[in-house]
């Protein structure tokens, strides 16, 4: 009927790896956040693939929870970035060694 789950899992693995390597390589905080979003999406894709393999709706509920966590994480993270910028601290992670107020 539909494609096997391994296809989706392999794609999710590739997406997760790209996100992880991007997180390690890039220094701009905003781009690093986007890489975290890529990794969360890869996890969601894997969860949906598992959900279809095993039946039931549990995997979809998990993916929904991951989306909620991702949304709150982005709100807090972008708030921190705006606060950093307001104090004239750099947006480059190499320059952010000291986090005193």
């Amino acid at each position: 009927m539909s494609l096997g789950g391994e296809w989706y899992l392999t794609l999710a693995a590739a997406l997760f790896t790209i996100g992880a390597v991007g997180l390690l390589v890039r220094r701009n905080v905003l781009v690093m956040f986007m890489c975290i979003e890529l990794m969360l999406n890869a996890v969601n894709l894997a969860l949906i693939a598992f959900n279809r393999m095993h039946g039931g709706g549990d995997g979809q509920i998990f993916a929904l929870m991951v989306m909620v966590v991702a949304a709150s994480e982005v709100v807090i993270g972008l708030g921190i970035i705006v606060a950093l910028y307001r104090r004239n601290l750099p947006i480059d992670v190499d320059e952010m060694r000291e986090l005193q107020g």
Binding site: L3, L15, T17, V25, V31, A46, N51, V75, I76
Partner: protein, 182 residues
């Protein structure tokens, strides 16, 4: 008749999968490799839409809608908003590498992780993969089934997400508030 129909369905599924996989991977590479944060955000939209299409292909209709509305509609717009607001939309120099040897090591680690993940994803003992027989749907399709599970079995987790969202809102307000002292 049925066999040819099944074969056609598989071909369509394969085409959908290949097109969205290309969109997803190209978008992900674009996020990582773009010099400009705005380009990264737009590439992220492409990836998110590809993931939404794959959700649809796996009969997760509600999640596909949520993916487009929440991710592409809210999160990426928030990203773009912050990028434009802060004016950090200048291109950065990607050739500059402060830590020597960081990128090769990161790529090697990534390839190792990819090998492990692909191995685990293809292993039957790890995924417990059963024959793919389609999603076990309750009466009324995807959304009522999900809603029933969400409001009965997973009610506590659902309430906890509301707490999490409230905490996120409070945190965002606190972070955005200007400090009066000093």
């Amino acid at each position: 008749m049925t066999a040819s129909l099944l074969l056609a369905a598989t071909k369509v599924d394969l085409a959908v999968f290949v097109v969205s996989a290309i969109a997803i991977l190209a978008g992900a590479l674009g996020v990582v490799l773009s010099r400009h944060p705005v380009h990264s955000a737009l590439m992220l939209v492409m990836t998110l839409f590809g993931v939404a299409v794959l959700f649809l292909a796996q009969e997760a209709h509600l999640l596909a809608a949520v993916q487009v509305i929440v991710y592409a509609g809210a999160i990426v717009v928030l990203f773009l908003f912050v990028i434009m607001l802060l004016g950090v939309d200048q291109a950065e120099n990607l050739a500059y590498e402060p830590l020597r040897g960081q990128r090769p090591v990161a790529v090697i680690l990534g390839l190792l992780a990819l090998a492990q993940l692909v191995f685990l994803g293809g292993a039957q003992w790890a995924t417990g993969a059963q024959a793919v027989a389609g999603v076990a749907e309750g009466p009324g399709g995807n959304v009522p089934t999900l809603a029933r599970a969400l409001f009965t079995r997973y009610l506590f987790a659902f309430e906890l997400t509301s707490l999490l969202l409230v905490i996120a809102v409070i945190g965002a307000v606190l972070l955005a508030k200007r400090r009066e002292t000093s």
